[in-house]
C-alpha cells in the first residue's frame, strides 16, 4: 500500500513537513549557539593547556632550582648547565606571570637562585678551563724544569717546550669546537652578528695567556733562528765554489736552501708573526749582507781581454816598423789570471740572475705553504694579509737584484772599459812611437852625417819618411781595429751587410772581403756556409 497514496495522508504529510521545516530553522539557530559554545570550549581548553603548561613550567622552574643546587653541590657541572639551559628556555612571560601569582615570593626566590647559579657556573667553568689548559702546561714546565736541567743541563728546556707545544696544540684544537658551535648558532643569524661572534672569538684566543706565552717563546726563538741563518749564509759565501761548466756558483743555491729551511721552520710554529719576522730577517740578510757580496764581486769588473787581440796586432805592426828597436810593452794581466777574473765576473752576473729567480720561486712556495697552513685558522685574513705584505717585500728584493744587473749593463754601455782601455793604451803606444820615430830619424841623420860631414842632399826626404811611417802606422792600427769590429760587433753574419758596400756610408773599410771572411771565421757561433755565402 502506498503510504502517501490518499489525499488525506498527503495533507497530513504536508503538515508534518512544515513542522519539520520550522524545527530545522529553530535547530539552525541552535547550531549558531552550539558554535559559540564550541568556540568557548576551545578557548577554555586552550587556557586549560596554558594553565597546565604554566603549572609544568613552574614545576620545571622549581625542579631546576633544586636540581642546580644539588648538581653544583655534587660538582656535576654538566647537569647544572642542563638545568640552567632548561630555565633559560622557559617562556619569560610565563615566569613573569608566575611572579604575579600567589606564590610570587617563592618563585622570586627560585629565580634569584637560578640567576645566581648561572653566574657562578659561568665563572667556575671559565676558571676551570683556564686552569686546565694553561696551569696544566705551566705546572708541567715548573715541575720538569729542575729535572731537565739536572739531567740534561741548562738550555734543554726548549726541547721540552717543543714537545709540550704539541700537546698544547692538541688542546687548542678543542677550542676550535667553539667555531663549530658558532657556525651552527649563526646559520640563520645576520651577517653583522656572525662577524661580531668571529671577532669575539679571535680576541678571546688572541688575548689569552696561552697565546701570550707562545708569542714570548717565539720571541726567544727568532733571534736564534736569525743568528743561525746569518751565520750559515756567511759560511755558504765563504765556501763558494764554481764548478767548471756551471753558469752559477754554489753559494746561490746554498744560500737559498738555508733561507728556505729557516722560514719553513718558522712556519711550523703556526704563528703568522713568527713567519713574518723570519721573512723580514731573510730579506734583510739578502738585501744587505748577501747583496754586498755580489756587489763587491761585480765591482772587480770584467777584464778587457779582447784588447789583447788588438794589442798583439799593433805590437807586431810596430815591431815590423822598427825591428832594430826595442818592442813597446803594454801592461796587461797574465792570460791565466785574466781568464779567472773573466769567469768570476760572468759567474757573478749569472748568480745575480739566479738569485732573483730563486727569490721568486721561494715566494711562490711560501705563498702556497702559508695559504694551506693559515686558511682554516681563526683570524686567518689578518694573518694572510700580514704574510702577503712581507712576501711582496721579498719579491721587491728580487727586483732590486735585477736592478743591480741592469745597472751593471748600463754602466758598461755608458763607460765601456774596453774602449777606455783601448784609448789609454793607444795613447801610450803613440807616445812611444813618437819617441822611436825621432830616434829613427837620428839614426838616418847619423848615417848621413858620417858621410864625410857633408850636408846630404837627401835631407829634404826626411819629412816624406815621417809621413810614410805615420800613415803606415795609422793604416795598420786602423786595420787591426776593423778586424776587432768585424769580430765582435755582430750577432748575425747578415748584419755585416748593413755596414758594407752601399750601406757603409762615409766609412771606407780597409779590409778586403777575404780578410773580413777570415776574421769572421774566428767566431765559433757563425756557420762557415753563412760566411761563404756572404756577398761582399
Amino acid at each position: 500500500m502506498d503510504e502517501f497514496g490518499s489525499p488525506a495522508v498527503r495533507r497530513s504529510n504536508a503538515a508534518a513537513f512544515s513542522s519539520v521545516r520550522t524545527e530545522t530553522i529553530e535547530s539552525l539557530t541552535d547550531l549558531d549557539d552550539l558554535e559559540r559554545v564550541y568556540a568557548q570550549l576551545c578557548a577554555e581548553e586552550k587556557r586549560l593547556y596554558q594553565a597546565i603548561q604554566r603549572a609544568d613550567d613552574i614545576l620545571d622552574l622549581k625542579f631546576c632550582t633544586d636540581g642546580v643546587q644539588t648538581a653544583l653541590r655534587n660538582q656535576d657541572y654538566e647537569q647544572a648547565a642542563a638545568h640552567i639551559h632548561r630555565y633559560l628556555s622557559l617562556d619569560q612571560s610565563v615566569i613573569e606571570l608566575s611572579r604575579q601569582g600567589g606564590e610570587s615570593t617563592a618563585v622570586d626566590a627560585s629565580l634569584a637562585l637560578l640567576q645566581e647559579a648561572e653566574l657562578s657556573l659561568k665563572a667556575l667553568v671559565t676558571k676551570r678551563l683556564e686552569e686546565a689548559v694553561v696551569t696544566g702546561i705551566a705546572r708541567i714546565v715548573e715541575t720538569h724544569q729542575p729535572i731537565v736541567e739536572t739531567y740534561y743541563g741548562p738550555g734543554r728546556l726548549y726541547t721540552l717546550l717543543t714537545h709540550l707545544q704539541k700537546e698544547c696544540d692538541v688542546q687548542a684544537q678543542k677550542v676550535r669546537r667553539i667555531t663549530a658551535d658558532f657556525e651552527i648558532a649563526d646559520a640563520t643569524a645576520a651577517e653583522s652578528i656572525i662577524r661580531e661572534h668571529q671577532q669575539c672569538l679571535e680576541r678571546l684566543l688572541k688575548d689569552c695567556q696561552l697565546s701570550c706565552t707562545v708569542q714570548e717563546l717565539i720571541g726567544y726563538y727568532i733571534p736564534m733562528e736569525e743568528y743561525y741563518m746569518r751565520e750559515t749564509v756567511n759560511k755558504a759565501v765563504a765556501m763558494d765554489t764554481a764548478e767548471a761548466g756551471q753558469l752559477s756558483s754554489s753559494m746561490v743555491d746554498d744560500v737559498f736552501y738555508i733561507v728556505k729551511k729557516c722560514i719553513s721552520r718558522a712556519l711550523t710554529s703556526g704563528s703568522s708573526d713568527c713567519v713574518c719576522a723570519m721573512i723580514n730577517h731573510a730579506i734583510s740578510a739578502l738585501e744587505t749582507d748577501f747583496r754586498e757580496v755580489l756587489v763587491t764581486k761585480l765591482r772587480a769588473g770584467f777584464p778587457a781581454s779582447t784588447l789583447q787581440d788588438l794589442h798583439r796586432g799593433v805590437t807586431s805592426a810596430v815591431s815590423l816598423m822598427q825591428s832594430s828597436l826595442q818592442q813597446g810593452k803594454i801592461q796587461s794581466l797574465g792570460i791565466e789570471s785574466q781568464e779567472q777574473a773573466k769567469t768570476a765576473y760572468l759567474v757573478t752576473l749569472n748568480n745575480v740572475q739566479v738569485c732573483s729567480e730563486n727569490i721568486s720561486t721561494l715566494k711562490k712556495n711560501l705563498e702556497s705553504d702559508c695559504a694551506k697552513l693559515f686558511s682554516q685558522v681563526a683570524g686567518s685574513e689578518q694573518a694572510q694579509a700580514k704574510i702577503d705584505s712581507c712576501l711582496s717585500d721579498l719579491v721587491n728584493t728580487a727586483s732590486k737584484l735585477k736592478d743591480l744587473l741592469q745597472e751593471e749593463f748600463s754602466e758598461y754601455e755608458a763607460n765601456d772599459p774596453w774602449v777606455q782601455q783601448l784609448v789609454v793604451q793607444l795613447e801610450q803606444l803613440m807616445a812611444e812611437f813618437k819617441v822611436k820615430k825621432v830616434a829613427c830619424v837620428f839614426i838616418v841623420d847619423d848615417d848621413v852625417r858620417s858621410d864625410g860631414g857633408r850636408v846630404c842632399p837627401q835631407v829634404g826626404l826626411y819629412p816624406v819618411i815621417y809621413d810614410t811611417l805615420t800613415s803606415l802606422m795609422t793604416s795598420l792600427i786602423a786595420m787591426e781595429l776593423e778586424k776587432t769590429i768585424f769580430k765582435s760587433s755582430f750577432s748575425r753574419v747578415s748584419e755585416i751587410l748593413d755596414y758594407w758596400g752601399p750601406n757603409s756610408g762615409p766609412l771606407t773599410w780597409r779590409l778586403t772581403p777575404a780578410e773580413v771572411r777570415q776574421v769572421l771565421a774566428l767566431r765559433v757561433d757563425f756557420r762557415s756556409e753563412d760566411i761563404k755565402r756572404l756577398r761582399l
Binding site: 708569542q215 733571534p223 736569525e226 704563528s271 713574518c276
Partner: protein, 203 residues
C-alpha cells in the same frame, strides 16, 4: 694580483713604550673608533688605509707593534722595510718620554737610513695629568731631527693630521728619490709645483 688601485704604497710602523696608545691611534685613524680598555698588543697588528691627497692615492700599510720588551725580537724585524716610524710616548707618563733615547738607538740599529721618524705625544685629552711639557718634547724632537705632533686618540685630535702629514712627507721624499735616480723619466705631473704637497689638510 690585479692592478693595485694606488699611486704610492708606504709602510708605517708604530713604536714606543707599552700603553702609550699606539693601537688606539691606529684604530682611530683606520676605523674611526676608540676602543676603551684596549689590552696590550701581542706581536704585531696590521691595518691598511688608502687616503687621497690632492688626487694622489696613497695606500698606507700600518704596522702596530707591541710595546712590551718581550715581543721586541718580532717587532724589530719590521723596522728595516719601514718608510716611516711613528715613535709614540704618553704625555702623562714621564717614563715613556725618558725611554725615547733607547728607542732611537733601536731605530739607529735596525731601520734603514732614509726612514722618516715622527715623534708623537699622545693623550693630550688628559691635560691635567701632563708630565712632559710640550716645549721639552719639541726641543728633543728638533735635536734628533724628527717631526713632532701631539695627539689624542680619544678625542680624535690631530690623528688624521698625523697620518696625512706623514703621507705628504713620504710622497715628497719618494718624488725626490725618483728625480735623483732617474732624472730622464720624471713622474707624470711632476715638475709643475712640488710645494703644493706641503698642505694636505684636504683628504
Amino acid at each position: 694580483m690585479a692592478m693595485e688601485d694606488y699611486d704610492y704604497l708606504f709602510k708605517i710602523v708604530l713604536i714606543g713604550n707599552a700603553g702609550v696608545g699606539k693601537t688606539c691611534l691606529v684604530r682611530r685613524f683606520t676605523q674611526g673608533l676608540f676602543p676603551p680598555g684596549q689590552g696590550a698588543t701581542i706581536g704585531v697588528d696590521f691595518m691598511i688605509k688608502t687616503v687621497e691627497i690632492k688626487g694622489v692615492k696613497v695606500k698606507l700599510q700600518i704596522w702596530d707593534t707591541a710595546g712590551q720588551e718581550r715581543f721586541r725580537s718580532i717587532t724589530q724585524s719590521y723596522y728595516r722595510s719601514a718608510n716611516a716610524l711613528i715613535l709614540t710616548y704618553d704625555i702623562t707618563c714621564e717614563d715613556s718620554f725618558r725611554c725615547l733615547p733607547e728607542w732611537l738607538r733601536e731605530i739607529e740599529q735596525y731601520a734603514n737610513n732614509q726612514v722618516v721618524t715622527i715623534l708623537v705625544g699622545n693623550k693630550i685629552d688628559l691635560a691635567d695629568k701632563r708630565e712632559v711639557h710640550r716645549q721639552r718634547a719639541e726641543e728633543f724632537a728638533e735635536a734628533q731631527n724628527m717631526l713632532y705632533l701631539e695627539t689624542s686618540a680619544k678625542e680624535s685630535d690631530n690623528v688624521e693630521k698625523l697620518f696625512l702629514d706623514l703621507a705628504c712627507v713620504l710622497i715628497r721624499e719618494a718624488k725626490q728619490n725618483t728625480l735623483d735616480n732617474n732624472d730622464s723619466a720624471p713622474m707624470p705631473g711632476e715638475g709643475k709645483n712640488i710645494s703644493y704637497l706641503s698642505c694636505c689638510n684636504v683628504n
